[in-house]
């Protein structure tokens, strides 16, 4: 399995960390700007696909394994379900951190003002945490798809 040319590899190494930090930006700001766990996870999985195609599967095997990607996926799903279970004293999927929740927990529960506000990361109750959980799941899932198809489909 050949790697691509030197120019492509260098640009991929440069772009890799930028795509990662941009994906984290999309996941973290999911409740403020367009984005969220699904979109950010897709962007991060594309970063994995970029490394696999630029360096070839032989080198990418050192950095990712099928086990790590699929366990990432399982971890995300488990986190998501347990976040849903944490609100079980009211109902399943109860947003127990939100501004209107009854036993008020003063973290993540600022009520955002109407109008332009970009920096209020600590709003939204459990929504940012669920974004992160779903993001982990989507990274693992889509990354595992590309990894496995790249490794196995050769003939």
């Amino acid at each position: 399995m050949m790697a691509m040319s030197k120019i492509v590899r260098t640009v991929s190494n440069l772009l890799y960390f930028f795509i990662l930090i941009f994906g984290f930006y999309i996941v973290m700001h999911g409740h403020l700007t367009p984005g969220g766990g699904f979109q950010g996870g897709a962007v991060l999985a594309s970063a994995i696909a970029l490394i696999i195609v630029a360096h070839g599967i032989e080198k990418a095997k050192k950095f990712y394994s099928e086990f790590s990607l699929t366990s990432c996926e399982s971890l995300g799903l488990v986190l998501f379900i347990s976040l849903a279970f944490l609100g079980i004293f009211m109902t399943f999927f109860y947003n127990f951190l939100s501004p209107g929740a009854q036993p008020a927990i003063p973290i993540f529960s600022t009520e955002p003002p109407l109008g332009p506000n970009l920096g209020n990361l600590n709003t939204g109750g459990v929504i940012p945490l669920m974004n992160i959980a779903v993001g982990i799941e989507v990274i693992g899932g889509l990354g595992a798809i590309v990894y496995v198809m790249f490794r196995g489909g050769k003939k």
Partner: protein, 118 residues
């Protein structure tokens, strides 16, 4: 007044070069020359249209809307992404089609044909 004229000028330049890129995509004879036209002209035109938006955003920011700063900064990020990825993509396509056996049309010299690279 002057900034608006600059914005109009930049939009005009961007439109002209994007048009040239699209026309070159149709008129040129083979894939390498098409890559010349498409990559250079569309990148240059997009730089100018993005510069117009950046100037617009900075003026808006300067007018006191501090939370409108991302219009300029995010456009700069998109512009940097275009500037890095476009020529690299063109290089990848050119290399792949040379390896796939597409000869440059009307070529006077082809040194790459003589040295077989791995």
């Amino acid at each position: 007044m002057i900034p608006e004229c600059v914005i109009y000028l930049f939009l005009g330049i961007g439109l002209f070069f994007n048009f040239m890129g699209s026309i070159g995509l149709m008129r040129m004879p083979d894939i390498y020359t098409r890559l010349h036209a498409a990559t250079k002209c569309t990148t240059f035109g997009s730089i100018f249209t993005s510069l117009a938006v950046i100037i617009y955003g900075i003026l808006w920011w300067y007018d006191g809307h501090s939370s409108y700063a991302p219009l300029a900064t995010h456009t700069i990020v998109a512009l940097a992404a275009i500037l890095v990825t476009n020529p690299t993509g063109a290089h990848a396509i050119a290399r792949a089609s040379h390896r796939a056996g597409v000869k440059p049309e009307r070529a006077v010299v082809d040194r790459l044909e003589e040295v077989k690279l791995p």
